[in-house]
Each structure stands twice: as structure tokens, then as C-alpha cells.
Symmetry: C2
Subunit: 345 residues, 2 copies
């Protein structure tokens, strides 16, 4: 048994890394949504002056990292490693941004779970004594994702009511080791542990119902997290899922109840809160950039202000591929959980 | 400065993880190549009884993990985490295999550098005290890669002389913590450290010349590794690159010399040794499965037999995407390095 592991899937940190900075850049529609004021930069045109959406997403990724470091007066060269990913094939957003940033880079693919995957990995590598300063980043872009995963936007296709809208957004968290003495813009928010998810598949095959595909994975991770840590759900002020959307959130809540976990009023879903119902987004937002921007824009700021003491951040990914779907495969999901606690050292 | 880090990019392990088992499954052509006898399973038909090549690759991935655990009489349920990836969009090979294996899973994308990325991450997480038993896996498949990255095979397209052939193969290493007391089929082969690569781009834009795109990244990682560790190249019996191929290897060797590193006769490239020149493969093999299968089939067995004491295994990835190429982007490369040493504890 490894000494920092609890049960089957959960890790606890001896020297919890601290989130010293975070930055977000989002699209126009996200900026006009209920969380608009929490984001650092809102781009009005979704090409952001670039020739293609893909190049725009890459620029958003890179600039969010630079901004997160700038906020704490750190040169990005100071970073030991960048961990991150996006939704595009061959994660070109992250890879091409890493080319510009020139830091050691570990590319991840966890679909929309990437923000949590990067944080959990970054935290382990920090607590493990390897890194002092790490950037954890995830991005998505509505227009790059639509043409890759579904249909060309120019077709003007209709969406069914269970569809979610891929968020144009990127979030970057800067993690520092417990003995880091530089600037910090957050009021002592630590990553105290995490639960690595398993791939769970309940047989959903509809790419327009990803909330339902991901909900069982979120339930699996949460239930196993509580079992591993022997904690009651009341330990947390907040359980915040990535992008289950409104339909997926209902499923998640019901399935948790079936497993004996009553979430009560402590559940929020990034996909549910980033858009307003009047914005015509069907079941809400999705994409790595959804949980990435809501975590770094909204959640960390509210924790900083003392609104939440202990949050379980669980980004969820639908491991779909157009090729797999065409071959009759169902959509497996995964959820990684990160424990965020305020004021503990 | 983190206490297990040397210089800018290199990590050293206090309790080096041990590679206790490895398994490989390769295609027919790889089986007929010079290393054929080193591989565990050679599939004669590249669908391996499945309906599609993608399903075949997923089965190869899953079965290699099961086989690696079987060799040391371990139930795959004993694994703390599986780290791995492949070349397919949304890494569906790894994700769908993880669904069957049911272990906690961290999905990686490092193109053909994935075998080294998974080993370096797995080793950090083991040395960091989080995991006891980890599977590090990488796969590729000629037919799935061709249709995704280049042209439908049915077209019968011609390749230029700098092209490389994607290896149909998968390699799985099982890492265990230093105090693991179970069976081990290797004679004390430890991962004593590693160097995390940076993304390097020298402006190559030809998807049929990936060796040239990746060679500069391999040079960058090797030179920085030697600088970080203050080691001379003579410290290693062997520097083994992933899949530079014959043209890329020449470039690599020349560029190293320019940087003052004379490789002499200690360099091998997995892409160069997996096929015979008579097999008509242009510049050799490529793909995550190339370094994955050569590491776990050939290199570890030769180390086990005492032919090499200290090897620097450096898998190289070309971070290309058809979308990026169509948008006029060049092909960035990355190389992660892993130090393998025999008989040290």
C-alpha cells in the first residue's frame, strides 16, 4: 500500500500544494452569461484576430498561462512544468501553446475532465517533491469543437434539447509547493487530495446527450471518494461537477441518492451556471474550458472570499470519438475529483 | 527548488521504481522483422478477429496489460493506476481499454513520445509515494493511423523515401514501488530519473518527414539532460530514441555532435531496428507502439540479460494534426527521456 493513498482511488497530500494564481479567457457568449464578471478577459470575436478558430484557441491557451503568471509577478520561465490539454485531435491547442511557452510539457487527454486531471497530476508531482511551480490548463472552443465532433457550423444544424454548448474558454491554475514563498493572489487555497477516476460506460450512444454519459462516472468517483476517505458528504460545502448540464445534473443527483449520498443543496455544475437559460443553450455548457474557466474564474474567487471552505471539484469527460461512434461504440465517461480546502497548511 | 529536481527539466528518484514486468503485442510485419522473437504475441491478421482496425488496436492494448500482469501473477485489479495513450483522436484505444480494465486511469497524449511520458509520470507518482503498482502503456496501429493522419489505405498511395511506417504494436510496462515484494520477471531494472521534454519546432511541415521534425526535440532533451545531471554521454551504454527513423537518426547524431555530444556507437533508434531494410519501409518504423514494443520487447530483455547497464530511453513525438497542417502550421516535436539502470536499488 502506497503511503499517500487511501482505498482504491484516493490520494492525500502530506504537503498540500497551494493554488497561487488563476486566469481565464472566455468567449463573448460566456462573458454575457451569469458569471461574466468573474472572467479576466472576454474576447468579442471568437477568432480573436487570428485567421482560424484553432489558432484563436491556441492563443487563448497561451495568453491565459501568461496572465496567470503575470498576476503573481512570475516569469513563465519559472515554471517547472505545464500540464494540460484540450479537445482537439492531437491536443494541438496545448501542444502549440507549449511550443510558444517553452516550458517542460506533459500533454494530457481526459476530454472534459482535463482540468481536474491536470490539477490532480500537478498536485501529486508537487507534493511528491518534483516541482515547485506548475501550470495546469484546459481549454475548449465552441467553433473548433463543433466542426471536429459534430457538423460544420455553416450547416446551421439543429440541436436536440439534451445537447450542451461547448464553452469557448480556457482556465489556468498555477500550483506552488507548500514552501513556495513568492506572491499569491488567493487566500490560502490548497489542493489537499484527489480521486483518480475510472472509465465508466452505461451504454449511452447519443453524442447530444453527454451529460447522461458522464453522470455515472461522476457518481462512481464521488461514491468511491467518500468510501476511500470515510467521509460523509457533509464534509464538503460544495460538490462542483464539470459539465453534466441540467439533464445530467438531475441524473447525477438521483443516482447519488440511490447510492445513499444525498447532495442536498451543495451541488453545482459548471455547465449549469456558466450560461443563462435565456441564452438558448439547451442543457448548458460543456467542454474542458467550461470547468477550466468556472474553476479559475468563479470557484476560486468565491473560495478566496470565504464563501466555500471545502469543495470537491469533479470535472467529467465523455470519451467519445466520431470514429468510435460510427463504429457503434457507446460513450464512456470519466470523472477525476480534486479536494480544494481553504486556510489549511 | 524542488528537492528531486536537477536543473531545468530533470528529475531524480530517491526510491527508484522497478520495472517488474512488460508485455508486447505486435502486427505480422513487426513479427517478421529483426526483433520478431522478442515480442510476446504476433497477430497474423491486423484486425485480430475484430470488425475494425480500431477495435483490434483496443484489444491489443487491453490484452497487453492483462498479459504483463499475468506474467507476474498479479490481478490487474491490483494496479493503482493505468497511464497511457495512443495516436487515435480522443485516445479511444486507451480509453476504451481502460473501460474494460476498470482501473483508475490517467489519459495521456504525447504522440509517439507517449511510452516515455507514461513511464516518467508513472515513476514520479511511484517515487512520490502515491502508487505501488502502475501500468504504463502506449500503442499504435498502422491501419488506424494511416486513415486518420494521411489517406485511406484503399487508395494505395505512394510514400516518399523519408516516410516511416506506423508500427502496429503495443507495449506495457508494469512499474512497482521500491518496497514492492511480489514477483518480478526482470533482473532489477530501475527507473532512476527522467527528463521532461519541451516542445521544439524547427519549421518542418512535411508529414512524411517526421524524423526530421522530431530530431531537434530529441537533441534538446538529451543535451539538457546531460547539462542538468552534469553527466557525460559516456555514463550511458545506450541512448535509444523512439522513432526518428534512419534519416532522423542521422540528423539527431549530427545535431548532437554540433552541440558537443558525440554519441559514438551508443545510439539505437527503435524505428530503425524494428524493421529490416528488405521490408520496404522507407525510413523505418514510427508510432507510440514502436518505442512501446521495442522498449518492452527488446530493450528490457537485453537489459535483463546484462547487455546494457544504463540506458537513456527517449521516445519522440511529432505533435502534428491534419487540421494544423492544413492551416499551414509546421510540426513541433517533443521528446521525454527516461533513465533505466540495472541492478541499483
Amino acid at each position: 500500500m502506497a503511503h499517500k493513498k487511501l482505498g482504491r482511488q484516493t490520494l492525500v497530500f502530506e504537503k498540500p500544494p497551494r493554488i497561487i494564481s488563476g486566469a481565464t479567457i472566455v468567449g463573448d457568449m460566456e462573458g454575457k452569461g451569469p458569471l461574466g464578471k468573474f472572467f479576466d478577459i472576454v474576447i468579442k470575436d471568437d477568432t480573436w484576430g487570428e485567421k482560424t478558430w484553432e489558432k484563436a484557441e491556441r492563443k487563448m491557451f497561451e495568453e491565459s498561462v501568461r496572465l496567470a503568471f503575470e498576476k503573481v509577478n512570475l516569469n513563465p520561465e519559472r515554471m517547472d512544468c505545464m500540464l494540460g490539454g484540450d479537445l482537439l485531435n492531437q491536443i494541438i491547442t496545448a501542444s502549440f501553446a507549449a511550443r510558444e511557452i517553452k516550458a517542460p510539457f506533459l500533454g494530457l487527454y481526459g476530454a472534459c475532465s482535463t482540468m481536474a486531471e491536470s490539477l490532480i497530476l500537478g498536485s501529486m508531482l508537487t507534493d511528491g517533491g518534483f516541482f515547485d511551480v506548475t501550470a495546469c490548463v484546459a481549454s475548449s472552443h465552441f467553433s473548433t469543437a463543433e466542426r471536429q465532433f459534430r457538423m460544420p457550423l455553416e450547416m446551421g444544424g439543429q440541436t436536440p434539447p439534451t445537447a450542451q454548448r461547448t464553452v469557448t474558454g480556457v482556465g489556468c491554475s498555477v500550483l506552488a509547493s507548500s514552501n513556495y514563498e513568492g506572491e499569491c493572489i488567493m487566500d490560502n487555497i490548497f489542493v489537499t487530495g484527489g480521486t483518480v477516476g475510472r472509465v465508466v460506460d452505461m451504454g449511452i450512444s447519443d453524442a447530444n446527450n453527454m451529460g447522461a454519459a458522464m453522470a455515472p462516472a461522476a457518481v462512481d468517483t464521488l461514491v468511491n471518494h467518500l468510501r476511500d476517505t470515510e467521509r460523509d458528504i457533509s464534509y464538503y460545502d460544495l460538490v462542483i461537477t464539470g459539465d453534466l448540464g441540467s439533464f445530467g445534473s438531475l441524473l447525477f443527483s438521483d443516482m447519488c441518492k440511490e447510492k445513499g449520498v444525498d447532495l442536498g443543496d451543495r451541488h453545482l455544475d459548471c455547465g449549469n451556471i456558466i450560461f443563462d437559460k435565456n441564452q438558448n443553450v439547451d442543457c448548458g455548457g460543456s467542454g474542458c474550458g467550461c470547468s477550466g474557466s468556472v474553476l479559475n474564474g468563479y470557484l476560486l474567487k468565491r473560495m478566496h472570499e470565504g464563501d466555500f471552505e471545502r469543495a470537491f471539484f469533479m470535472a467529467t469527460g465523455a470519451l467519445m470519438s466520431p470514429t468510435a461512434s460510427m463504429q457503434g461504440e457507446t460513450i464512456p465517461g470519466i470523472a477525476h475529483g480534486v479536494i480544494l480546502e481553504r486556510g489549511k497548511l
